[in-house]
Symmetry: C2
Subunit: 296 residues, 2 copies
């Protein structure tokens, strides 16, 4: 039976990956700093600070995972792009890949990011769009993927990298776009956003987790976009939420300015995923947003 280790299991995407993995026949291990997480689902929890190379080594030696889904990374909304913590996670990823290989691991999937691509290019095609990250986060993620590929080549394990676009859904941190817009709408407060004409590839988090777990349980090597292939204006999302909450009067577009360097369009090309994994998302954007509104 596959022995899967999940890092970052308490994060937004990690939580969904853990739930999705519970539907597969495998032994699931999850490691985070506290060693505690969502009960049930047959997960064995481990306490480890993965930024410490000794913790990485002893964790991997103890579990001897056949599969590793590596999602642990700094993700603090607004701050992660330029946090010095990115360097610690780059080092951690190098250590994890080495320990995984040394202990006979077979299949490594890391969670990368659309931030690895040249922000001026669209759509983002895994093996064609230049890797030219604008942020420290994107640079450290891209460096990690190269290091993982080197470790895979040295140790002979299979490796893939899921470049995540814009996830949303249950568990989305309150400071991020959709939860903060919904909170303002519900409180009857003005929703101050940027002009909102920038387009993003929004993916419902359980769909992203489904794709990541399918990738993990496949043998496909290489980088794969974790998106939907559809670009939607941020403005349209805010307008849809406002109309569903019956407060179309509250959004104030252009009230705040866009972070400099934010690309106009960031959208995944999904043909490689379609071809190699025969995958498409279960929820379109309105279905996903409806679920978020209904659940909150």
């Amino acid at each position: 039976m596959n022995r899967v280790l999940v890092t970052g299991p308490s994060g937004f995407i990690g939580t969904h990956c853990l739930r999705r993995l519970a539907t597969e026949h495998c032994e699931i291990h999850a490691a985070n700093r506290s060693g505690r997480g969502e009960p049930g689902a047959g997960v064995t929890w481990h306490a480890a600070d993965l930024r410490d190379a000794d913790h990485v080594l002893s964790l991997v030696a103890k579990i001897q995972p056949t599969h590793l889904l590596h999602g642990a990374w700094v993700a603090t909304p607004r701050l992660y792009g330029h946090s010095p913590e990115n360097f610690a996670w780059l080092r951690s990823t190098i250590a994890l890949a080495a320990a995984f290989g040394r202990h006979g691991g077979a299949r490594f999937v890391g969670i990368g990011s659309s931030a690895e691509y040249d922000p001026g290019e669209r759509p983002c095609v895994e093996d064609a769009t230049p890797i030219r990250p604008a942020t420290i986060y994107g640079k450290c993620k891209a460096a990690s993927w190269l290091a993982v590929q080197a470790a895979a080549q040295h140790h002979g394990f299979s490796a893939a990298w899921g470049r995540l676009f814009m996830p949303y859904g249950p568990g989305d941190p309150p400071q991020r776009l959709i939860p903060s817009v919904l909170a303002a709408l519900r409180a009857g407060q003005p929703v101050q956003t940027s002009h909102g004409t920038q387009q993003r590839d929004f993916i419902y988090a359980p769909d992203a987790a489904d794709l990541l777990v399918r990738l993990l349980l496949s043998q496909e090597a290489g980088a794969f976009n974790i998106g939907t292939g559809r670009a939607t204006k941020v403005r349209s999302v805010v307008e849809y939420l406002a109309s569903r909450c019956r407060r179309p009067d509250l959004p104030q577009f252009g009230a705040i300015s866009l972070t400099p360097g934010e690309p106009d369009i960031l959208v995944a090309d999904m043909s490689k995923v379609g071809k190699r994994l025969a995958w498409s998302p279960q929820n379109d954007l309105h279905q996903g947003l409806d679920r978020v509104i209904d659940c909150a």
Copy 2:
């Protein structure tokens, strides 16, 4: 006055860089495992094992270099491409860039490699050719450059990366192509080579060092090819050496097979270097080979 730290100062290229730096008005520090090197030239030598993060920290804290020319890396002929030592040098580079930034360093130049490029592409253009390294060496070099860029962005130093093509010249390790061919020719032994139709961008090592030092003392950020822009068949080099040694009878082309995955052509596009650094090589291939023959 600029305080320059050179890592890998006793390697093939590092030795030439140190000599070239001696012609500049700057304080030169060199670090290697023994703390000893070529005497003269006003270099201060330091003993440090840069694969040890503590050594990196104390070295950089002591010297507080304004400029760093980072050449230290595993370079054992034939073995470096897939050596696990590549991972130690990737970690070392990440640690060096962090320590350099923390101690107020201003200008970082690392020695990268043509092995970072997709081996199927030609010529190699710094900002256009895909980074798709075939070897563990190339992957770890490419990951290092991303990590250096992230550190430069975080600490605010200026960074460049010199992707070295095929250097040759005085000090070339005896196992490498030109010294081994010359040794066989002089011993009157058959020169067993591959078919030799593969083309490489041969650069005379003092010219490569000149370009690296100019890059170091400039403020140009980004990746720069360290080559000449000319592709030459390996066969032509062997034939030239054989004719100059008056032993055209000795080469046996096709006697050994090419390492699988060796590209047919690996040549630098030098337009970015020409435009930004107004540089061209001082020695063409025959001039460089003549110097090697005359000096050996």
